[in-house]
Symmetry: D2
Subunit: 391 residues, 4 copies
């Protein structure tokens, strides 16, 4: 007879896009991986009682709630999963940590460095009591990215010279695409920079094991006004106005120097027509190179420059062998994974860290460092100067 495992009670705040995929991960992780604790989906929380109750049923949560403070107060909740927009992260996460709950928080960690600093400080205090934090940079959990990191760590690329990273989407390329809260700086903090740029900042630092030291950035808002969205409460209040201002960046570009000497070129945009979710990363070192594109997420291209020149070339590694990280939980070689698997792997790694009583990665301190890079890019764009990132 199989031993009954301890459980991990989870409460999730928010139930939109991120809520759906987080729910899937909580439902699925222990079905495919051996976990020290079995997640128990206790409660999902949202402001609209009817809709959150429907979400609970659909996503498989035992109960629903409308006040996140109630969730935090529950004894049967060990971990709070924060899937709300960025402007609420700090308040919820800090309260949860103070209540002794582990916190998994969606990225970017916050809408400002100040908020992120408070969150990281709260996490540091909580960590002394064994309470853990994690930030949802899930793209780290794509097996091809894990292989990329391993190849760099194993020295297969030699000394790193170039980092080239782009996160390209196109959902704003149409100037008639309507306003949403994501285009309102007071809600979203920033535009492409924080929403998707944060991912490639984290990914490149993660893969290289290095950190961005200074940046020269440029933000641009191509379409300054857009049609007001019918279901966007805040803006539609503007009497009689058919259009409203876009107050965040449509694109962010920056040059970077890494502490280890590599140079970087970064770009995040929602205007790259035809690119849907193209997270593209290239790294060139003295002994080899890597190339990745999330639009072909099960593949990593690796050039081994130590092979004879006549035989060398970028090789298309289909990262589905069981030896690759997380893959043995899934299917035979060539049977690829999809977007949500990164979230399942995130739960796996988080629950295993909790079981081992070790710190998950990336934690709130890591999230704060990314926030500082984001802020440096914004300041650089405003002041037209290079900006160093404080260590």
């Amino acid at each position: 007879m199989t031993e009954q495992k301890a459980t991990l009670g989870v409460g999730m705040i928010g139930y939109a896009f991120m809520g759906a995929v987080h729910s899937h991960a909580w439902r699925s992780a222990h079905r495919f991986f051996d976990l020290p604790l079995t997640p128990r989906m206790q409660v999902v929380c949202g402001r609209d009682a009817t809709r959150v109750a429907e979400a609970a049923t659909r996503f498989g949560w035992e109960e629903s709630a409308t006040d996140w403070r109630d969730v935090i107060a529950r004894d049967d909740v060990d971990l709070v999963d924060v899937c709300t927009p960025g402007d609420t992260h700090a308040e919820i996460a800090i309260a949860a940590l103070e209540a002794g709950k582990h916190v998994l928080c969606e990225k970017p960690l916050a809408n400002s460095v100040a908020e992120a600093e408070r969150m990281a400080a709260a996490a540091a205090v909580a960590a002394e009591r064994g309470v853990r934090t994690m930030v949802g940079f899930t793209y780290r959990r794509v097996p091809a990215i894990a292989l990329a990191k391993k190849l760099v760590a194993d020295g297969r690329l030699g000394e790193l010279h170039h980092v080239r990273a782009q996160y390209l989407q196109d959902w704003l390329a149409d100037p008639e695409a309507p306003l949403s809260w994501r285009l309102d700086k007071s809600k979203a903090g920033s535009g492409a920079l924080g929403d998707i740029g944060a991912h490639v900042i984290d990914l490149t630092q993660h893969i290289t094991g290095d950190r961005i030291q200074e940046v020269s950035g440029m933000l641009e808002t191509f379409v300054k006004e857009r049609p007001v969205a019918e279901d966007s409460s805040g803006l539609s209040a503007t009497a009689g106005a058919g259009r409203g201002p876009v107050t965040v960046d449509d694109t962010a570009l920056f040059l970077a120097r890494f502490a280890g000497g590599a140079v970087g070129s970064f770009e995040a945009t929602r205007f790259a027509t035809g690119r849907k979710n193209a997270i593209r990363i290239e790294i060139n070192g003295s002994k080899g190179s890597l190339a990745f594109d999330f639009e072909d997420m099960n593949v990593l291209h690796f050039h081994d420059a130590t092979l004879p020149d006549t035989e060398a070339g970028f090789r298309r590694i289909v990262v589905t062998e069981p030896e690759h990280q997380w893959v043995s939980g899934w299917w035979p070689p060539g049977h690829g994974l999809g977007y949500e698997h990164g979230f399942t792997h995130q739960v796996v790694d988080l629950v295993r860290a909790l079981g081992d009583d070790t710190d998950p990665a990336p934690n709130f301190a890591d999230g704060l460092q990314v926030q500082r890079v984001l802020a440096a890019v914004e300041t650089s764009s405003d002041t037209r100067t290079w900006q160093e990132i404080p260590v």
Copy 2:
């Protein structure tokens, strides 16, 4: 308050690779799609009581059982999902149908045309009582394949001339890869032909809406003896022998004529070194062409020859827009799906058909037709003649 939906009690026979992915589908389908009946994972069945009980826990089945006859006899089981090897399909499926259970059966439908004919006959009888059958040709449920079918059906390819289909794997390329039951004709029926060739036969007929009329085929076993596998009961019985015979094909190739006039070239192999699960389909018509490779499963390449020559080219359609079949249940554009999604879509389509009281596709009659093509290829290879496929 949400209305309580009727449930569909499911009993699954087998719990290996196919059992794992079918379980995932039964667990997940109603989380992402509106279904007329909510699947209830009643019981999973296998011969080893301990292991099947563990599988039940891991996969989320309420109970386990060791005799499939008990499963069929249960009142709380409405549908039997057959995930066992091919030599047991006929017995289980026919019994289930006779007991009034809907049956979802893994492919190929059977190990012989005779068995498949009995199954199809039983299905026809059962259908008169509203009992439904489905065969697990899940690759039909990849959104890019659905788009391919739609483009052909909409006339976008014009008159079809060429079908080129390959299912390439490489797990037997190493001559020291051990024997398994899959290489034993008495268990598996055939080798690459039935295991993977069946998929491309079904896919090309599905996409074209046409059927294969005649074939000229060639089977080959490159490695005639292999090391006996330690955990392969049947063969390891051979006293003192370190190697045993491979009694199925390593590869199957055939030329084909479709009823509508197109010519086809087919290949299935486990010796295509470097190709892990490459289901590659190309179709050329008078007005356009399609190309698909499962190793990049979220993409369909479409050439529209009605565009000006100077602008025409194969276009890489990332099939993740919400308008594509099944996609609106998942993630935003560019956030790709993986292997198991096809199985989830299979459950969706099956349950919806049951809810509508319509016939799912492909049903056992369709499975029989594929079986006839497989048999014709074998006969053709044996007799070195062209073989017609009976309608």
Copy 3:
């Protein structure tokens, strides 16, 4: 001062497409490569005196002529380059050989095995007098193909199991594309089979170092009648008829067994909409695989299966390093070659063989062997049986 090299007087018969590219090769080879003899472009021959004189001026020939017998009779002509349609190859080539001229003949060698046998016999006789022959299978001279052959010869693919070869064009996909002499069997001998299928037969035998032993083939003519071309003398004579019959194959497919045990799947077509000149070859062996597509002609994809599974993958070798065959005559790495370079390399190899007094490859005997494969495919298609190729 540089020593004056001996010259090689060349007379070319025909001045259309092949004439243009052959002229370029004769003009260019000694500009990029050290040759033992400097080609001298003495005379070009065609039936229309005005047009052939214009061609001489444009292409850089010293004189023009209207009777190929006059060309063969000239003392200043050492080599006859036959660029005419296939139905004239035998007569011209045999006469030239008998006159003691080396002969470079376009492919396919002839329109029938009987003709090809006579040509090969004449070549054998001539060879005893040091007179050499070559057949224009120029795609052998693409550096990526030379690398493919080298990798196989070096054992990097291990034992060969699969050969997959397609030559795909689309210029007949439009049913209103007019008739030309290429669609008239009396002139062209065959359709896609001889015109382009011959190339992939030669290429696969060349790369593998093996030969096709038996075939099962299928020819098809999708569009049986086409508009008569206004400038097609023979057919437009048909009184009042707006359309005429297509008497050759639109496509040829065949399965093959190689003498060494590999199985092959071949296809040649002019109906693969969107494929312009796609010569696609894949070879799978026990230790590795190759893939080539002429539409990306400077690249060879190589999978080395002896690498660890976690790192293996098809690598995209850009075949532009100076160590690759012929490449040092050209540009730095990454500066790719084009279609005509194969013809220049053909002249290089031919002239060097003449300088060394060795036999060029492929010679007329090799051309005859390819002709026998073509004939076997036709017979197989007619008789619906497997056909062996005589050695």
Copy 4:
């Protein structure tokens, strides 16, 4: 009888890599294209009498010379083709213009803005007398680039938002690669910036029809010292020194704003391991996008965002149809061109402009503008500020 065309006497200064490919172009252009003047390869000039005489024979020049002033003085020279390193461009080109000779000058136009200004001024004076200038930005003459420009000009991309351009090579990635004059600032002016960065500056401005308005740049020299090359006269004079300093940039990166509102990200490097001559350009507009990579030079990827979302995708246009610029001079569809064809097209366009008495493009004024962008990037890197480019 064909009319005898007027000739254009050409004198070429320099006979290394650029000399070889320019010679090929002068030899070949009138063989494939109708030109108003037939080029006559009168004289090639270099300092070493023996070697330049050999080059004349090999490349097909009638005579050789050792003093470029003698070339300029010849009556039978109508055009001077400057293929020397950048530090000699100004002196030779200005003298040639003053002597009334048309000048084709390799890129970059000069090693400094001051030199380039003097050259452009001389060109302006000469133009009044009908004397023409051209700068050798040959990549403009790749048919896929011409198609890119046409699509933008036709409004197919809508309003342009993003320009992404990289010129990636890897020949310096090995830190033991020896010094050459190209790594000596006094000879080469700059490193990757001027040598290859100049090309992508020209290409992006050419394709977009826009100009770069301001830049923020960063230069980096990864390997500061290298082994002295044995055949490098200047540096090997350093007594006893085994290594010498690299005085130019290994890589140059910059952000840019175009006058029309697009933002740009540029990169030029000789350290992108595995990329041999990868000129990669992507442009995103409101209605469509383009992507090009010179490593697949016959292809342009075009995304037409005005198509339905479910069908849109980057299409791989094989730019070999006769309707594309320059292509009708060559081969049938699918028979690709190579690196040197751009140079042949350059001669075609130059000679046609001379025949029409119109100004070729790009002329010295265009070359000066590129020089100003290069200088702005250098200044920006030195001062860590944004720099405007004077109009």
